[in-house]
Symmetry: C2
Subunit: 433 residues, 2 copies
Amino acid sequence: MLDESELPRQWYNIQADMINKPLPLLNPATREPLKAEDLAHIFAAECAKQELDQEHAWIDIPEEVLERYKYYRSTPLVRAYALEKALGTPAHIYFKNESVNPLGSHKINSALPQCYYCKQEGTTNVTTETGAGQWGAALSYAAKAFGLECAVYQVKISMQQKPYRSSIMRTFGATVTGSPSMSTRAGKDIITRDPLHPGSLGTAISEAVELATTTPNCKYTLGSVMSHVSLHQTIIGLEAEKQMEKAGEYPDTIIACFGGGSNFGGLAFPFMRHTLLEGKKIDFIAAEPSSCPKLTHGKFEYDFGDEAGYTPLLPMYTLGHEFKPANIHAGGLRYHGAGTIVSQLLKDGYMRAVDIPQTESFAAGLLFARTESIIPAPESCHAIAATIREAKKCIETGEEKVILFNLSGHGLIDMTAYDSYLNGDLTDPEFKG
Amino acid sequence: MLDESELPRQWYNIQADMINKPLPLLNPATREPLKAEDLAHIFAAECAKQELDQEHAWIDIPEEVLERYKYYRSTPLVRAYALEKALGTPAHIYFKNESVNPLGSHKINSALPQCYYCKQEGTTNVTTETGAGQWGAALSYAAKAFGLECAVYQVKISMQQKPYRSSIMRTFGATVTGSPSMSTRAGKDIITRDPLHPGSLGTAISEAVELATTTPNCKYTLGSVMSHVSLHQTIIGLEAEKQMEKAGEYPDTIIACFGGGSNFGGLAFPFMRHTLLEGKKIDFIAAEPSSCPKLTHGKFEYDFGDEAGYTPLLPMYTLGHEFKPANIHAGGLRYHGAGTIVSQLLKDGYMRAVDIPQTESFAAGLLFARTESIIPAPESCHAIAATIREAKKCIETGEEKVILFNLSGHGLIDMTAYDSYLNGDLTDPEFKG
């Protein structure tokens, strides 16, 4: 743990240090690069500015956000001795525990600044999409903290799988609607095409963006994918860097699960800075689900961020914006595309990706729970599974590698998934590309 | 927060300082006072010894338990500024946040030493009862931590209301059975008498005690009521005392919810020491549910701790061991009796009790969630409701009272209860004495 005086006071903007910058976002009609003003129609102006900032490597965290961070930060950096022992690996396994806050995941790190900027700019209402509900819960709390009204579109299948998360959002005063819904034009169109559509982050984004653009004084917020979200999440890696230093070690391998890229970038970017600036060698691994493998099986191309095609065109690894992901329990990883920064970094060889079958992820999560006492979120189980793969390689090679992974959230609201695994009902849906 | 070096290394045994000691436990057949040897048939020998210890005020915490405490302790002491502001009270409200650990409640504080002592004494299996499941989850984890097998009897109605908690226990490797069940003589008898019996802590204790006494190398453990459990929980109050000193304040009022007394005693006893030894005036308030009000509506008499009459006779405030509590969501407070220490202290006027209707408890919990960002367990909501009552009195009198309450656990696994409250479906079951 860090002392209050050691908490980072700036976020790290990796765009400033990248050799090949991410390609610009394009206006789908004109295919012209977007300016911050264009994005400010849907996002808070400050977020729009951060999104396109390729100059400033360090961005000040506002005092009001720092105050809120202090409620739960720093988060612990933990050496997973019991897991190491159970595996019999010579590797040193560390994890950054982002599950230690009242909302239970890293998502709050970006929900707070996004709501703060909205409030500062005179916005009264925020809206968003959510999958498993980690982001929706975080935003509901942050909106309440800064006195904003909040409306959340939650992926329908996730809402059914994890009913408690919508209850949490309602407890914090948010309105929650299952997506696709009949409350928007986009939702109606999707339901008309496919009445049994289980929903996806793509459908929920379409609905939230539509609500934001058709409601006065309402802004859209996003829990991942966008560069400003990863920026806010760098608080994770910046803390972890200081904590690893205190532990007297430096990671050889850095692993995080991958949905849109915010928890991955949040942990990895501050370390990758040393790769970019000093040539430091670190093995960065993004762990994605086998059934939604945009990094390992997607194409790098311009695509929409949502199902209906309301967003700008984003240069990214994508499975196509109409890709319908299988109903895996890791709702937060059921997204067709990757953020523009990560996409460029993967293309340029600074990182790699692995895909993890659902049952392997839960086997890893169960072992972690029984050794380290924390029940991990189904998303985080993918990072644990990838970590176990690497730690097992160290048994063969005898290397004492230092592996750092991000425990992005706990799974207390995801117990039906564990039930299903313990009962032997869980399957590994195939990827249909 | 406290530094690691400031963590208490001893528990406080209030029995040593009490003027009127608790009356002895009696053998139901002979009505003779029990000795530690008699209790050691069902409990770990060290726990049995602690149970009857009326001499030593300070008892060393074993190193192995301290090491495990350090995984999550100290827990934060928080000033509830936002709640104060929402109430408009001049009172200073503090809470000790025992929800900050992977199991989500204070129960782990006693689960760890109980399993440690069992392991030390060569026990291989532990068993217990659980209501809402907070205790069962904590014991499942502690058993796994010390390499013991664990079997839990969970109150049937709570198991239905909170299915995730049994999943958590199973995830930690425990066997979970709904009580009353057909797996024990006691359970069969209860079901024969009342096939639709929803279960109670009393029925689950009978079944667990029977399992422990009929299984080789198996000990029974308990999550509340007994004096050694409160002893282990004093880590809460001992930390809080140091933390209040750092905050430069001293509590006028100390509040905790009340099931069997362990979280109440855990917070209150270290402060009550100064009442007993130095005559310090503090208003100690136990908050119990209106539908299970043993302290405000029970009788002080010898009674069994369980439904079937397997336990020793305990001198306590009780509603009768066959009392069938209403199906309120605060499963941990659905117990017919109070621990022997608290019963004596209440009788002697050192503390008082209030009873809280279910809907008042959830209204308080919702306000707390929306101001302080933590969704409290239904049990803890009772402490919050009692705190709000006291804080509102301060508005009238203008007193800047310092109120300290125990947030014994979070309510993330109890979201069906909040749903029910938000939907307007929650009722206030009457007490039928």
